[in-house]
Amino acid sequence: MTATGEGLTTVCYASEITGVGSLVTGFVDDHGILVFFNEQAPAELQDISVFHRPSIERHGPVPGDVVEIGATSFPILAVGDVVERNLIDLGHIDFKANGKVTADLPGDVCVPEHALPQPEVGDAFRITRGGDPRAAPPAAASSAATPSGGEGT
């Protein structure tokens, strides 16, 4: 993995992008919105969504976590109340590049303006915690360094 020095990074969620719907480009460019669903989501959601195949589904995001989509990474500013359940149950998450520090809607994950890339099939999608000491409280970063799961295998 890519933990650098003592700056241990917890992977909250890891996935691979397997499909990009026809409306995704416009959602990103015109609205600053990027919608994910896992591959079990019904076909009618394909047009508006990035479809993906998760390999690690530990936690939903909290403010300060970092999102990686392909070569792009950006911080999470705010998280709505139903985000974790959406992500863990449905592989569903709505990123909004609005720079807000409180989520207007229960499904919103707010990120900096213009932060969102155009995802491509094969890109990795990850949510990580704790790589930057300023990014998350120490309690969330599991400084004990005793990973019980086998994520590296």
Binding site: E44, D47, I48, G107, D108
Partner: protein, 123 residues
């Protein structure tokens, strides 16, 4: 032959849109639950009162023209607009208002939100 009945669905606290009258037919039998964790209680209640067929959208899909009503638990951006865009009657269990890229498809004739089983009334 199934004898279908109608229900009236009104918005719940903080909700928007509706009321909607839902009546399944032979050609549109499905109460389509696009929610986490199986058939949502709202979808189950609609199916119980109408005689429609509950269907879990995360297990497999049905064509839009066979859906009597879609029940979603959308936080406000994506699913909230997809079904109205296809002219499918849509019930959101969360109290959302029209928003997002598809907001212009969300009308009071097609959409009602903030709905719990208490807002579903047999006709």
């Amino acid at each position: 032959m199934t004898d279908y009945k109608s229900v009236k669905i009104t918005k719940g606290r903080g909700g928007w849109g509706g009321p909607l009258t839902v009546t399944p037919t032979e050609k549109k039998p499905y109460i389509y639950s696009v929610t986490g964790g199986g058939i949502h209680p709202v979808a189950a209640r609609i199916a119980e009162l109408t005689g429609g067929t509950p269907f879990d959208g995360f297990k497999s899909s049905v064509p839009f023209d066979q859906i009597a009503v879609a029940v979603i638990d959308c936080g406000g951006t994506a699913r909230v607009g997809v079904y109205p865009m296809k002219k499918v009657l849509t019930v959101d269990v969360h109290a959302t208002s029209p928003a997002g890229p598809l907001a212009n498809f969300i009308t009071e004739q097609l959409f009602v939100s903030g709905v719990s089983p208490n807002e579903i009334e047999a006709q």
